[in-house]
């Protein structure tokens, strides 16, 4: 991926590095280490090798024959980040940062997590590399995402439930920064998405760009041409940047980012920063971008059925690509997501994560209006079986409820 930010990590008016003085040296060190690594061809080779022996890169590009027939328009291809080790594209980022941590000689990593995916991925990376690991997670998310917490702890990580603020992802980020300003000598903060102060947006996008460079080769090998459109969900923006980056210069390829429409844009209960006018430019968590905030500049509560999209900010790189007109933004409601998930399960045997399913929703809306000669790619950023508690609730599955009640009774009887 070419680096479109300037030396301070600005993409148009977005990005930058708004950090406490105490962290400046740490960011300088990180920026230098990252620049060096990028300039070292060995580094990417080691990264690619690690991802191909520890995770399963290249991940496949799957043709969805039945969905294509069903919609009767564009040929639908899906990039399978769900097949990564730990079940999502998050693996790309954490393993890359892991190599960087090794290079910098640090021995401990910290991370924030909302859905838990990035926490599990980081804990996994830490186990593999032998780093100490602390994961910050909003208390509400800890309760919602207990299975992921369970695995993080088994992987050897300490999970800290953040009881301050709104007790969700953004508060976990703040808390991770608070750890870092004390511990930076031996600790690296593994930020989970293409947000935060420079060089994180660039760095995370760099590691995630492996998605797009594979997908570009694969779609050309499999169809002989470039796709007409590419769809990716947008939480912080890392999977979207990952797949978009390889196509930025292909002006014939339309790039579509899909945000969380939650209960509907009109209700205000959503997490759409770029697809509607509810967000405004601000500076928080160390960078400048569109935030869902009040007129005073206080961050607002957001909502999505997909915990991983439920975030107030968005990648400054994407904010700029939106303003430049290079990426179009749309949103998908919780309800649409559940319906698209049901369809995708039944028609293709794929289980996209609720986050990823947002991209499917928009693709399904547009596919019928495209020609059968057109090819589109949906980035399936992760797998949905991690979401069983949420999905079972969304489908209101009575047998699942019975099962959970029975389990609870067993535990009551045993306790």
């Amino acid at each position: 991926m070419d680096d479109r930010g300037n030396a301070r990590g600005y993409y148009g008016e977005f990005g930058g590095s708004f950090i406490p003085e105490i962290l400046v040296a740490t960011f300088d060190e990180l920026t230098a280490a990252f620049s060096e690594a990028k300039a070292d061809p060995e580094f990417w080779a080691r990264y690619a090798e690690l991802m191909s022996t520890y995770s399963c890169r290249p991940t496949p590009l799957t043709f969805c024959e039945r969905l294509t027939k069903h919609f009767g328009g564009a040929q639908i291809y899906v990039k399978r980040e769900d097949l990564n080790h730990t079940g999502a594209h998050k693996a790309n980022n954490v393993m890359g940062q892991g190599l960087l941590v090794q290079r910098m000689g640090k021995t401990r990593v910290i991370a924030e997590t909302g859905a838990g995916q990035h926490g599990v991925a980081t804990a996994t990376m830490a186990a593999k590399f032998g780093f100490d690991c602390t994961i910050y997670m909003g208390e509400i998310d800890v309760e919602r995402q207990r299975p992921n917490v369970f695995w993080m702890e088994r992987l050897g990580a300490t999970v800290v439930a953040v009881t301050d603020g709104t007790r969700i992802l953004k508060d976990a980020i703040n808390e991770a920064f608070r750890d870092w300003v004390t511990s930076m000598d031996d600790t690296h903060y593994v930020l989970g998405t293409a947000c935060g102060p420079h060089p994180f947006p660039e760095m995370v996008s760099y590691f995630q760009s492996i998605i797009g460079s594979e997908a570009r080769d694969q779609i050309r090998a499999q169809t002989g041409a470039l796709p007409k459109r590419i769809y990716a969900c947008v939480g912080g923006g890392s999977n979207a940047m990952g797949i978009f980056s390889a196509f930025l210069d292909d002006s014939e390829v339309e790039l579509i980012g899909v945000e969380a429409g939650g209960r509907g844009l009109e209700t205000g209960e959503h997490a759409s920063r770029l697809a509607c006018g509810d967000a405004s430019v601000g500076v928080a968590q160390g960078y400048k971008t569109y935030f869902l905030q009040t007129d005073d500049g206080q961050m607002r509560e957001t909502h999505s059925v997909a915990a991983g999209l439920d975030y107030v900010g968005v990648s400054p790189i994407l904010a700029n690509l939106r303003d430049e007109g290079r990426v179009r933004f749309e949103s998908a409601t919780d309800r649409e997501v559940i319906d698209a998930l049901a369809l995708t399960l039944k028609m293709e045997g794929l289980v996209p994560a609720l986050e990823s399913t947002h991209a499917f929703v928009q693709a399904f809306k547009e596919a019928p209006n495209l020609s059968p000669d057109d090819v589109i790619i949906i980035n399936q950023s992760g797998r949905g079986d991690k979401d069983i508690f949420t999905v079972a609730d969304a489908f209101e599955d009575p047998k699942w409820r019975e099962f959970i009640k029975r389990k609870a009774e067993e535990y009551d009887a045993g306790a």
């Binding site: 105490i22 703040n174 206080q298």
Partner: protein, 253 residues
């Protein structure tokens, strides 16, 4: 202007005391009483923190004070009004402390103008390094306000000088790594660091993070110009009530 005022004050006192409160916490009335108590007890200047939902550089005590104030409905406008009434009543320099988004959303130009109108002396914005501060510096200069910047123990000397070039009023030296509210060791390491700070700038120096009692203030006497008591005053109010603040402050020096 602020730097000048501080130098004048230092003629009188070996060390100045700066305290910190979060506006609207526990409520604006109590804030007023705390300020009264502090000014009476001899505090020399004060930071008034406009609460922000993401106070990234603050530790748990101030963080919760921010949240509590916001939860009670504090707005930026209320904070500005309150500050105006305070600068009218008390004859010490007051500074705003907040995060950059508060200024940014208000409009940096408008915010500076407002600060000057209501008689504030300057501002501390811990998430705004000089590199990002172009518009802010211009506006603050335009309105004769002091942009306070921060040194930290790991700031290299060249950078200290660069920061000093942007700063005015004084330099806020953080005593150690970490966020507000944790303990600090007042040691020879700190001494060496302060010597480096002193060498890098002619501006008055303040030291904060972890200053909590007379021993700490004594240690700082002769080494910096201003001792900053932040979290500890909030703790005193929380644990002993608004009335205890005056006595706490008077015992510090």
């Amino acid at each position: 202007m602020l730097a000048h005022d501080l130098r004048m004050m230092r003629q009188e006192k070996e060390i100045l005391l700066m305290t910190h409160i979060v506006l609207g916490y526990p409520n604006f009335d109590d804030c007023l009483r705390v300020i009264e108590g502090m000014v009476e007890a001899g505090v020399d200047l004060m930071e008034l923190q406009i609460p922000f939902s993401e106070p990234i550089a603050d530790g748990p005590v101030i963080l919760r004070a921010n949240q509590s104030s916001l939860a009670a409905g504090a707005t930026v406008d209320q904070c500005l009004e309150f500050a105006e009434s305070v600068t009218r009543r008390f004859d010490i320099p007051f500074l705003f402390m907040s995060y950059y988004n508060i200024l940014f959303k208000y409009g940096v130009e408008a915010f500076s103008q407002k600060m000057s109108q209501i008689g504030m002396a300057g501002a501390i914005v811990p998430d705004l390094p000089p590199e990002e501060a172009g518009a802010y510096l211009a506006a603050m200069a335009r309105y004769g306000l002091a942009p306070i910047f921060i040194y930290s123990p790991n700031t290299p000397e060249t950078r200290m000088r660069m920061i000093a070039d942007s700063a005015d009023g004084f330099i806020y030296c953080v005593a150690r790594k970490g966020v507000t509210g944790a303990g600090t060791e007042f040691s020879t390491d700190l001494e060496a660091y302060l010597a480096r700070c002193r060498a890098a700038t002619d501006l008055p120096l303040a030291l904060g993070f972890g200053v909590k009692d007379k021993d700490d203030v004594d240690f700082l006497r002769g080494r910096v110009d201003i001792a900053v008591i932040g979290t500890q005053t909030i703790r005193v109010v929380e644990q002993q009530g608004v009335g205890a603040v005056g006595e706490f402050i008077s015992r510090l020096r």
